[in-house]
Symmetry: C2
Subunit: 322 residues, 2 copies
């Protein structure tokens, strides 16, 4: 592993020390049915059981906890319609400060309420006419807030890597680690931790077929932008990899597998009926890749991350009936 | 705790040694949202994540593993339309023998398939004309099989108690333990373990309002039979407590709380959306009692058991829309 990368195993270990006692050490599930279906031993790291229901809390808390007392006194900010919003809101509350979250007007009410429930102030904008980045930055400048980005920050990436660190600490040697790819923060941190601990491990990312910006970028050797993807995996609907995350991922990833929306649906059903656990579409994509045999020459011991579980019962049913 | 009871803490500890490495040591979930809703610290023991998706495997395996080599060579048998069927089927497979399971003809296909999937032979009968007990006993006599009952056996009860044992080993002192009551095996074993380890603990059972045979029996001081209950909690639709389980429960239980089917629905939704975990109706009743504030003067640290998670995505939706 190149030592010149912007995030190191040491950074992930530091993040693990910071989040200890604040983030959950999530359980690792085993299922013989899954092992039989896949033809390997599979270790399932349940970040759907993380606080706020997704791995995002790890990175948000690690980043926010490193701000100065002065920065924290002024407050933090984020723009997100997804799990990062709740993660920053909760991180702020845990650190005794406040968060302002910029969210599209048409964000599902449950997500607005969950974010407000952690004590954050919500600022909405029209997603068709407004530019969330500009709004977020203007707001931050005006009020002196510090923005916590969803993935383009070394502390965020290091925080996300703690999920893989915990998994390997708990189960030991793994031959491969399979991780969903959205903006690329989770897999960049996971690959940093995994390859630092187990130099021979294969790290495979999973994207929805419609949202294969990272796969295309890895092939091209540079960041490639694609049309905004149409997929049920809303957390993976990125149209271009992050600059920082891609600079890590192009060095550390061994490949990207793609899954269809139907394969994601099957994985959500499998998780529900066999693993008794709830995953949102983006959270199910690594599992989908295994169940649909989308990863070539699978090794013997495989770790995967179920990255999030934020979905209402109604939306879950709608998707399964898709 | 009377020392003359038919199952002791020592029996539960012996069962724990037997099932070690065969049954899962299931995780204990925490949720601040749950703690806030309940006004206490709640420790959730996830038996929905046990092998076969329910606590039943603990007791079935403990009982079957104590049979003689000769008994095991001939095979084991059970009658059940529910989780006990799969539990006995898997216990047989783990012990290198075969199981014959007597099930109603109209058992949902998914349950028939799951049971057959563990290698069991299924014998069906017409639930309106046949007597499953008579069929099971005739079959056992004819083929020399040993019947493993769902709750009326000390080894089964001791096995079920290992869930509470693990919970208390992991989280330490608890003021109360809240457990679903069907035939009474899970709570009899749980109360034996809990009161043996923590003499001051309060053990509360939860029954569906329509199926309050144990509550009535405790009030009457003797086993009372009720009309077959109509409730979504099919695993708790017992019409009379077991003789053996009741002999333990009348000595050890501190009370029974009742929950409505709607309260169970709410708890299933809460488990899905907030705990990201799948519970069947019977498996959700202890959680329902907490969320609906059906337990008086709640103490500070409470353990509950989510006892099972075997439900299809379709049936789950149907129940939530019920």
């Amino acid at each position: 592993m190149p030592e010149t990368l912007p995030v190191t195993l040491r950074d992930v270990q530091d993040a693990a020390a910071r989040i200890k006692g604040v983030a959950h050490r999530t359980p690792v599930l085993r299922s013989r049915t899954l092992d039989e279906r896949v033809g390997a031993q599979v270790f399932v790291k349940c970040e759907n059981l993380q606080r706020v229901g997704a791995f995002k809390f790890r990175g948000a808390y690690n980043a926010a906890s490193r701000l100065t007392a002065e920065q924290l006194a002024k407050g933090i900010a984020a723009y997100s319609s997804g799990n990062h919003a709740q993660a920053v809101a909760l991180a702020a509350r845990e650190l005794g400060t406040t968060a302002v979250i910029v969210m599209p007007e048409d964000t599902p009410r449950s997500k607005l309420e969950a974010t407000a429930g952690y004590g954050a102030e919500i600022v909405t904008y029209d997603r068709y006419t407004g530019d969330r980045e500009a709004i977020g930055q203007a707001l931050a400048a005006e009020r002196g807030l510090t923005l916590v980005p969803p993935y383009e920050h070394p502390h965020v990436i290091a925080g996300q890597g703690t999920a893989a660190l915990e998994l390997i600490e708990e189960v030991g040697e793994l031959d491969a680690l399979v991780v969903p790819v959205g903006g690329g923060g989770l897999i960049a941190g996971s690959a940093t931790a995994a390859k630092g601990m187990l130099p021979g491990i294969r790290v495979v990312g999973v994207e929805p077929e419609a949202g294969d910006d990272t796969r295309r970028s890895l092939e091209a050797g540079r960041r490639v932008s694609i049309p905004v993807p149409r997929t049920i995996a809303d957390g993976q609907a990125a149209d271009i990899p992050g600059e920082l995350t891609f600079s890590i991922n192009r060095c550390l990833l061994d490949g990207i597998s793609l899954v269809s929306d139907d394969q994601i649906r099957d994985a959500m059903r499998f998780a529900f009926e066999r693993l008794k656990t709830v995953v949102e579409p983006s959270g199910a994509s690594a599992l989908a890749a295994l169940l649909a045999h989308r990863i070539d020459s699978l090794p013997r011991r495989i770790g995967i991350i179920l990255s999030g579980g934020n979905i209402s019962a109604e939306r879950f049913t709608e998707i399964l009936n898709g």
